[in-house]
C-alpha cells in the first residue's frame, strides 16, 4: 500500500449523466441526503449551439487527491492529512470545523457533514481500495467513465490509459498536482 499512488482517469465522452456514481457514493459512504452534501457530482455542461444543432457534454468530478493539497496546508490541527496511496483524508477527531479547507480547496470538493459534525470529502473509498476493491463510483458506472488504479504501477490500467491518451487535469496553474485525469 505504502508505495502506491492512486488516481482516477475519466473519459467524460462516455458519460450519460445517469448519476449512478453520485448515488453509489452516498450509500457507500453514508453521505447525508441534501443538496450541499455530496462527495462527487456530475455537471451538465451548458448546451452548445442553437436548436436544432445542439451539443452537450457531462463532466463527473470529485476530490482530486492533490499531491500538493491546499486543504492540507491550511488545516490548523492536521486533521487533514495525506495517507496511503496519496489519499487526502479528514480525521473527525481532530477537525475543529473551521472550514478553512473548504475555502482553500480550488475544486469545491469539501463540505460540512452534519451527521458527524465535521468536514467531509471523497476518500477514493479508502475503506474499499485498501482491501483490494475499487471505489463505488468507479464500479457502478454503466459506461465505465472512471478508471481507478495505481500510477506507480506502469502496467496498471490508469498508467496505460495516460500513456496512450492525451489528458488534462483541472486548474493545473494552481500547482495543486491533481490526480484526477481527464482524457481529451
Amino acid at each position: 500500500m505504502k508505495d502506491k499512488r492512486f488516481a482516477i482517469v475519466l473519459d467524460t465522452r462516455r458519460c450519460i449523466d445517469c448519476k449512478a456514481c453520485t448515488v453509489a457514493c452516498k450509500t457507500e459512504n453514508n453521505v447525508p441526503i441534501g443538496d450541499e452534501t455530496y462527495r462527487n457530482w456530475v455537471t451538465e455542461e451548458p448546451l452548445r449551439g442553437t436548436y436544432p444543432k445542439l451539443g452537450q457534454s457531462f463532466s463527473p468530478s470529485q476530490c482530486n487527491q492533490c499531491a500538493n493539497p491546499p486543504c492540507n496546508s491550511v488545516c490548523p490541527t492536521s486533521a487533514t492529512g495525506i495517507t496511503i496511496g496519496g489519499i487526502v483524508t479528514v480525521d473527525p477527531d481532530k477537525c475543529i470545523g473551521c472550514k478553512y479547507c473548504m475555502l482553500a480547496c480550488p475544486y469545491d470538493a469539501r463540505f460540512y457533514n452534519e451527521e458527524n459534525g465535521v468536514i467531509d470529502k471523497c476518500t477514493f473509498c479508502i475503506q474499499r481500495v485498501t482491501v483490494g476493491g475499487i471505489p463505488a463510483c468507479v464500479e457502478t458506472c454503466p459506461t465505465k467513465v472512471r478508471v481507478f488504479g495505481d500510477l506507480n504501477d506502469p502496467n496498471s490500467e490508469v498508467s496505460i490509459l495516460l500513456a496512450k491518451n492525451a489528458h488534462r487535469v483541472l486548474k493545473p496553474e494552481l500547482g495543486t498536482k491533481p490526480f484526477l485525469y481527464y482524457l481529451i
Binding site: 462516455r14 450519460i16 449523466d17 445517469c18 448519476k19 449512478a20 453520485t22 448515488v23 453509489a24 452516498k26 450509500t27 457507500e28 453514508n30 453521505v31 447525508p32 441526503i33 441534501g34 443538496d35 448546451l47 442553437t50 436548436y51 436544432p52 445542439l54 451539443g55 452537450q56 457534454s57 457531462f58 452534519e114 451527521e115 458527524n116 459534525g117 463505488a136 464500479e139 457502478t140 458506472c141 454503466p142 459506461t143 465505465k144
Partner: protein, 733 residues
C-alpha cells in the same frame, strides 16, 4: 458532542418512525433513518446472520441487473453490481443504487391496511394478516357469486419473479380478466416484429457499426446491455443516428440527432426503403432466400420518396437519402433499433412492421451486429391443474383488438368496457405490482373505473396512488427481503437470475407466494392445492433438469451458457411465421383486413396555439414509482414542463414561472422550463409526479401528473394504447 449528534438523531428518529404509513417524514441519511427505525424497535438491529454478501437481482426496473448486497450487522449497507452478471456488464444505475432506500424507507408499507374513510381519503386502520386476507377472500367470493368469477379483474406487471403466482391465482380463481403492462408498453412492437420474423428479436448493439434509434432513449431509458453497448462500438466505426423530438442524453451522445416531427417515423422508414430498393442497395440473395413478398415492396414504396418524407417528418431529403445509403453500406452490421415502449400512435404496429421490413431487406437478420433472435435457458415449469368452472365469460375486452393477448388483454379497451359495464359487470379488482392510476393514460377514467368497483385490493411495497384508492392494501416484502424463484431472461446472451433475501422481511411484509397461498386457503381447497409447495421446492423443481443452474446462482449470482454470441441459429430453419420465412408482405394481415404492407397515414397535426405532449423517461425514475425514493428525489424533486425557447418568447412565458397545462381529459400545474432541447411544437414533462397519495411524503404536492393529461387512444391491431397523440394548451398559472 456525541450527545448532540444523538439529539439530532432523536429529532429524526421521531419523524422517521411514526408507525403511521402516512407520516410526512423528514428523511435523514440512510444510516440515520436506519438507526432511527432500529432504535425505535421497528427494525431488529441484527436480522439473521450479521455480516454477509448476498447475490441477488435488482428489482427497481425491468432489467434485473446482478447485485451483490453488502449486509453489515444485519443491515443492507450497500448494493454493488455483480461483475459476473454479463447482461448488465457489471453496472448498477442510480435507481439500482437507491434500492437500499426501498427497504429503509419510512414511507414503505409496513402492515396490512384496511380503508376506514372514503376511497382516496387516506384514512386507514392497521389490520392483522388474518383479518385482511379474510376480508379479501370474502369480497372476491361475494363478487364471484353475485356476478361471475370474471367479475374480479387481476392487474399485474412483471418484475418480481412472483407475478406468475398472482396469475396462477387469477386462473385458479377462474377469472379470464387478467390485464398486464404490455398494452401500455411494447405490445405493438412485439406484434409488428413478430408478424415479420415470428419473434421479437434483439439488436446486437455491441457489434453493430450503424445504429438508427427512433424514439428509444437509451441513455436515459436504460435497457441492459444496449444502454452500455451503444457507447462502445467497434474501434470507433460505430455511428449512432438518433431521431427524437427532444434533445435527450442519447441525442447528446449520438453522431447525428434529428428533432423528427412526432408520429412521422414511418415516413422516414418508408423513404429509407424507397432509396434502398430503388437504388438496389438491398441484400439481394438474402431477400431471395429468407423472405417472402419482397416483389410487392418496390411498387409499394415507390411514392414514398425522401422528398415526400421530408415534408412529413421534417428531416431534409438529402439526409434521409444519405442515411439510407450509409445504413445499407454498413449492413448487415447495421440495425434500425426496434425500440422498447411503443405505445406511441394509433398505427404503431404498422410503424414497427416498417422497421422490421427495413432491417430485413438489408439482410441483418441473425448475424453479428444485426437483429438476433433471443436464446433462452430452459427452466422446468410448475404444472398445476386449475379448477374447472362452467359459464365463465370470455375476456371483457375480447375482440377489442385484432391480435389480443389472452393473458395481457388491452388495458384501455378493458377499462372502457368495465366503465360501460358491457358485456358484463366487473366489480372486483386485484392489483399486484402495478400502479394503474399513474400508469394508464387518462387518470380520470381509471378513477372512474375504480369508483364503480365493489372491492379493490392492492399488493404493493409503497403507498402508490393505486394503493391509495384501494380498500385493502397488502405489504409485500421488498425484492431485497424475498426469496424469488429463478427467472430465465432471454437475449443474445441469455441468463438465469434469482433473488435471495438479504435480510428478513421488515415489519409485517410477506412475499407474494405467502400472500397467494394464504389467500388460496381462504378461497377453497381446490385452489389451495395448486399452491401446495414451498419456494424451495418450487426452485428445485425449476432446476430439476439442470441443478448446475442453482449452483451457479448461489456461487456467482448468475447462470449463463455462453459469453460469446452465436449467430445464424435460425439459418436453414423455419421461422415461427405462417410461411416460415421473413414476411415482408403479410398474408396473415391481408386475411385480417389489415394492410399487408405498412401504409403511411398522416396523423392529426398540432392545432394552432396547442402543443403535443411528449412522453419519455429519465434515468432517475422507474415510471411512476421511484420519485419518492429519497436518494432519487434529490436528483429531481419535481417535474417541469419543457417548452422551446422560441415558443416561450412568442407566448411571453418565462423560465421557472408556473403554468397550467390542459388537455381534453385533464389538467395540471407545474413550473416551466424554457429550453432548446425540444421541438417548438411540443412540450414534455417527466412521469411520476403530481401524485394523489399522501403516502409518498417526498413527492406529494410536487409537479404535475402526465397520466392525468394523456389521452387513451387505442392501437387497434395490438390493443396497445397510443400515448403520443395528446395536445395541450398552456397558460400562466
Amino acid at each position: 458532542m456525541a450527545r448532540l449528534i444523538d439529539k439530532k438523531l432523536s429529532r429524526r428518529r421521531f419523524l422517521g418512525t411514526s408507525s403511521c404509513v402516512l407520516a410526512v417524514a423528514a428523511v435523514g441519511s440512510q444510516t440515520t433513518v436506519l438507526k432511527a427505525l432500529a432504535e425505535s424497535g421497528e427494525v431488529t438491529t441484527s436480522t439473521g446472520d450479521g455480516t454477509k454478501d448476498v447475490f441477488t437481482a435488482c428489482g427497481m426496473c425491468v432489467n434485473k441487473c446482478g447485485v451483490i448486497a453488502r449486509v453489515r450487522n444485519g443491515r443492507i449497507h450497500k448494493l454493488d453490481p455483480n461483475p459476473d452478471y454479463i447482461k448488465s456488464r457489471g453496472m448498477l444505475c442510480a435507481r439500482g443504487n437507491a434500492g437500499v432506500k426501498v427497504v429503509y424507507d419510512p414511507d414503505r408499507l409496513k402492515y396490512p391496511l384496511i380503508r376506514v374513510g372514503k376511497r382516496g381519503e387516506g384514512k386507514w386502520r392497521r389490520a392483522s394478516w388474518e383479518e385482511a386476507l379474510d376480508l379479501v377472500a370474502t369480497k372476491m367470493t361475494e363478487i364471484a357469486d353475485k356476478y361471475t368469477r370474471a367479475g374480479v379483474m387481476f392487474a399485474s406487471t412483471e418484475g418480481t419473479f412472483q407475478e406468475h403466482f398472482f396469475l396462477q391465482l387469477a386462473e385458479c380463481f377462474g377469472s379470464t380478466n387478467t390485464v398486464r403492462h404490455p398494452t401500455l408498453c411494447l405490445s405493438s412492437n412485439i406484434q409488428g416484429f413478430s408478424a415479420t420474423y415470428g419473434t421479437f428479436p434483439t439488436p446486437d448493439v455491441l457489434n453493430s457499426d450503424y445504429i438508427i434509434m427512433a424514439g428509444a432513449n437509451r441513455s436515459e431509458a436504460l435497457i441492459t446491455p444496449d444502454s452500455i453497448d451503444q457507447l462502445k462500438g467497434d474501434g470507433g466505426r460505430r455511428k449512432l443516428v438518433y431521431l427524437d423530438p427532444r434533445f435527450t442524453k442519447t441525442a447528446a451522445k449520438a453522431d447525428e440527432w434529428f428533432p423528427i416531427k412526432p408520429g412521422t417515423d414511418m415516413a422516414f422508414v418508408l423513404a429509407m426503403l424507397n432509396v434502398i430498393v430503388s437504388e438496389g442497395l438491398y441484400a439481394k440473395e438474402f431477400v431471395e432466400k429468407m423472405t417472402v413478398g419482397f416483389d410487392m415492396l418496390p411498387p409499394h414504396v415507390k411514392k414514398y420518396t425522401p422528398e415526400w418524407a421530408a415534408k412529413e417528418c421534417e428531416i431534409p431529403a438529402q439526409d434521409i437519402r444519405r442515411i439510407a445509403r450509409e445504413f445499407a453500406n454498413a449492413a448487415p452490421k447495421a440495425v434500425f433499433y426496434p425500440g422498447r415502449r411503443s405505445s406511441f400512435a394509433t398505427d404503431d404496429v404498422q410503424l414497427r412492421r416498417a422497421m422490421a421490413i427495413l432491417n430485413a431487406v438489408v439482410g441483418n437478420w441473425d448475424t453479428e451486429g444485426g437483429l438476433v433472435p433471443n436464446s433462452h435457458i430452459p427452466l422446468q415449469k410448475h404444472a398445476y391443474l386449475a379448477p374447472w368452472y362452467d359459464d365463465i365469460p370470455l375476456r371483457i375486452d375480447d375482440g377489442s383488438a385484432v391480435f389480443l393477448s389472452e393473458k395481457d388483454g388491452s388495458w384501455v379497451a378493458m377499462r372502457d368496457r368495465i366503465i360501460a359495464g358491457k358485456p358484463y359487470p366487473v366489480k372486483g379488482m386485484m392489483i399486484y405490482k402495478q400502479n394503474v392510476v399513474m400508469s394508464v393514460p387518462n387518470r380520470t377514467k381509471t378513477l372512474k373505473m375504480m369508483d364503480q368497483m365493489d372491492f379493490i385490493c392492492t399488493i404493493d411495497i409503497a403507498m402508490s396512488d393505486t394503493a391509495w384508492y384501494s380498500d385493502v392494501v397488502l405489504p409485500e416484502a421488498t425484492y431485497l427481503e424475498r426469496q424469488d424463484p429463478l427467472e430465465s431472461i432471454g437475449g443474445i446472451l441469455p441468463v438465469v437470475a434469482f433473488r435471495q433475501p438479504c435480510i428478513a422481511p421488515l415489519f409485517e411484509s410477506k412475499p407474494n407466494l405467502w400472500i397467494m397461498q394464504n389467500l388460496a386457503k381462504r378461497l377453497g381447497s381446490e385452489i389451495a392445492e395448486t399452491f401446495d409447495f414451498t419456494i424451495d421446492e418450487y426452485i428445485h423443481h425449476q432446476v430439476s433438469k439442470n441443478p448446475k443452474i442453482l449452483h451457479d446462482l448461489k456461487t456467482t449470482g448468475v447462470h449463463y451458457l455462453k459469453v460469446e454470441p452465436t449467430y445464424g441459429l435460425t439459418k436453414g430453419k423455419r421461422l415461427r411465421t405462417k410461411t416460415g420465412k421473413i414476411e415482408i408482405y403479410s398474408e396473415n394481415y391481408a386475411k385480417n383486413g389489415l394492410d399487408p404492407l405498412p401504409v403511411y397515414t398522416r396523423h392529426e397535426d398540432v392545432p394552432a396555439n396547442k402543443f403535443r405532449l411528449l412522453v419519455g423517461r429519465n434515468a432517475y425514475f422507474t415510471h411512476g414509482t421511484t420519485s419518492n425514493n429519497a436518494y432519487l428525489h434529490e436528483l429531481m424533486a419535481e417535474n417541469t414542463l419543457w417548452l422551446n425557447s422560441q415558443s416561450a418568447s412568442k407566448m411571453g412565458l418565462r423560465d421557472g414561472q408556473s403554468v397550467k397545462v390542459k388537455s381534453n381529459v385533464g389538467e395540471g400545474t407545474l413550473k416551466l422550463e424554457v429550453t432548446d432541447k425540444i421541438r417548438p411544437d411540443c412540450v414534455y414533462m417527466a412521469h411520476g409526479f403530481g401524485v394523489l397519495s399522501k403516502g409518498q411524503s417526498l413527492v406529494y404536492g410536487r409537479g404535475a401528473c402526465d397520466a392525468a393529461l394523456i389521452e387513451d387512444k387505442l392501437e387497434p391491431i395490438s390493443g396497445n394504447v397510443a400515448m403520443h397523440q395528446t395536445f395541450v394548451e398552456i397558460s400562466p398559472a
